[in-house]
Symmetry: C4
């Protein structure tokens, strides 16, 4: 299983890298099969639920590397319960291309509009990950506490939906709101959403799951450090953060092995 996992990781990273300008880890450019990618998407759903990054709500998608104007996302449902049959292919306007009779996530525009705006992005997570929500509600910026949260050094903008659309139901349920969120995200790895959660992006499924996980862990550690240090906290230097890039390969291995067996 270990070897199989590593092969899969290599494949999905490779697929991702076909569309990325500056690959961090060089891999042979072999695209994963559609079946393998969709299978990984189901695993990503289960990991996010099992590790508490999502609860009954939240979602994760992956761009179709063979057809970059399409992405895969489960139909509406709890991530822990997603099966292969739930996975739907969407175009970048977030209209279903397969599984067209199923109900989609109301907020699928988070995914479609980010894929449009960010050709480098191969996978997207939307979560209500708990420890980031207090940060989204204050003016305290997230800062990188340790190398596992290195990407926070890029800055984590906060999306204020009131600025984009006034008073709403807080959901990104239109293409316009998706575009506004994508604009706030800019070139970063993550954006917080005030009163809601976060959107996290990466160049592969493995990476996006880990970034969503460590975004949340880092938030908890930062709150603790601020309570402890009275504000005098040493965060990663911006250049340290830039250098401390993680592949998170072992995280995926670990989390996959921890999934409950049915």
């Amino acid at each position: 299983m270990y070897i199989k996992l590593r092969l899969r990781l290599a494949c999905s990273l490779a697929a991702a890298l076909m569309f990325v300008a500056a690959p961090v880890y060089s891999q042979a450019p072999v695209a994963p099969s559609r079946d393998a990618l969709v299978d990984e998407l189901v695993v990503a759903n289960h990991i996010l639920a099992n590790e508490g990054v999502v609860d009954g709500y939240g979602h994760v998608s992956v761009r179709n590397p063979a057809s970059p104007n399409r992405y895969f996302l489960a139909r509406a449902g709890a991530p822990a319960l997603v099966t292969l049959a739930d996975v739907t292919e969407y175009d970048l306007d977030s209209k279903p291309v397969t599984n067209t009779s199923a109900t989609g996530y109301a907020e699928r525009f988070i995914h479609g509009e980010i894929y449009k705006a960010r050709p480098d992005v191969m996978a997207v997570v939307h979560c209500h990950c708990l420890d980031v929500i207090p940060f989204a509600a204050t003016s305290v910026p997230l800062q990188p506490m340790y190398h596992m949260g290195y990407f926070i050094g890029e800055g984590v903008p906060v999306f204020e939906i009131r600025k984009a659309a006034g008073i709403t139901d807080m959901l990104i349920s239109t293409p316009e709101l998706g575009r506004a969120l994508a604009q706030t995200l800019g070139s970063k790895s993550a954006a917080l959403m005030r009163g809601h959660g976060a959107a996290v992006v990466a160049t592969s499924l493995h990476l996006v799951v880990a970034k969503a996980y460590y975004l949340n862990v880092n938030a908890r550690l930062q709150l603790q450090a601020m309570q402890l240090g009275g504000g005098k906290v040493t965060y990663l230097d911006p250049e340290e953060a830039r250098q401390a890039v993680q592949s998170y390969e072992r995280s995926w291995d670990f989390w996959k092995a921890r999934l409950p067996r049915n």
Copy 2:
């Protein structure tokens, strides 16, 4: 199982809506069978225990939609261990109509008196949910941190039993105390009980379980936000909270699937 769950959810929502003026999610008005409802009540008990909303103490009831002056509640016992045979039917004075030889919860008046005062309420939870207890002991009002806690925007009153009855054993063990609690609750979704816990109400079992769960999560997030922001926290605007109504359907699916299998 997924489809079966959705059917059940539709049914119980429908039943609830027969007694509600302004349904949030429109459904065909098909009442669930008594058996189906009692079965769901057992599941609701198990979910509340498994998700840590209740421990050995706390209880959940559902109004009998076919006979709105009656409600179902387990006899006295730990929620995690409730079985079909424990479910008892009560009239609104909280006198048992079935299972009359069993010992009832001393605090069943929480349920009966709220059902009397609130014809719209179809289900009630009483919990000692931990993270709300510090709020009940201070003058800090709960505020909606994110859309999942939208109903907190209505305001969450705190029941001070001393005002109603002076020095007591803290329990709602008489109809009078039940009425005083119902009065404090007013038209809201939840009331905190100082030195004790909370009472949460909704138009269905699925909703009341989720509201009890997210009441507690929101309390934890608010404490973190207050520690982080020094008081400058942006809560949901009252109108945002009104619009951000949740069905919590996926939460029920998720929590039911997480129950230990016997």
Copy 3:
């Protein structure tokens, strides 16, 4: 199993009450068999470990109701792993009467000396329960946050071993230190031990397990309330605490059912 549990609870309470002046819950005075009591002691060990009140360290004992100058305590070992064969009978000087070749807990004097000083006490827990340790290290007294922690209203004294014996290894490893701890405990339900943990006593095994558990929960809630309220926290009134006596019967049922099955 439910019925069996209740019978057992009645029996052990009854046994306890034979030696108590003012019983809280009146029961027929039927002493449990030695086998039943020792069996419950094993369960109490497992519950304390499973609920996180003890980790690899800590211990729980029960007085022999048929021979009140004796008590049962496992030989030295992790509570989660205690079996019937590990249970040893001690006299009140904490010398083993059975199982004499086994190594005993170095701190068994906590138990023996408390049983000597407190004829009403039928069961003792010593734990390093985490959330009370910060209180033991400060001058902030524990206060009852809710009815489940009612006994905290009696006051929870802090044992400062330096006052009794100067600089030590922090352990209660002599009869003298056991006596000093018992003296600090006085007539209360619990004493904190600075830099160490707590000693908790009650009139039965079921009660002592629950008091140890809720002592720790209450500590966590009090810290949260103090952070939230800036000191303006409404604790249970002393008379409310006196009236809010709990039997914790359902807690034992719940915790026993949660034990991992081997």
Copy 4:
């Protein structure tokens, strides 16, 4: 199993003591077989993951008592998934002697350089244990909260990698950085690593696992105590800490029994 564990503990302690000047617990000097030691190293990996001391990242090594210029460490991979086949023998320059084609941990120099500098050290853990990271980012020194964290009384220095090497990727990926870390560690049991985690050392595998675990627990308790006491916290006196030496034997028994069974 209990007896077998105790035998093993005795053996590994004994092995450790062959190289230690002042043994804390005297044991017969019987060296464990290489097989037994490697088997324990696998268990140590699994315990650290199961108890949350490491996640997908972190590592633990043990010196070869029969050949003190060698140490055992898994090849690169998540600790929870380490098997016997992954265990590799290294020389003190951290070059693999067995399993030479496998990829090693980039940070194995933490282990090799500490073994060089500290002949008394028989086992090393590197972890990103979460609750110590806020301490590593502030100037607040860790202090011993209770006897289980006794070794913190020695002082826990913080390694600032910027002082050793300026801006880096935060990793100890060269012998030079390993030496700098070993120098900061000095004669202590643990050093925090700013923006990264900790390195913990001991005279046996059992001890190093427990020290890493309680280092983290103690950090959490200290944060709580500081929040509670406004700075007026009574830590263990240095001499109390010296006397409160733990063998942590029961912790290992407990943690081993808690491992998921495959």
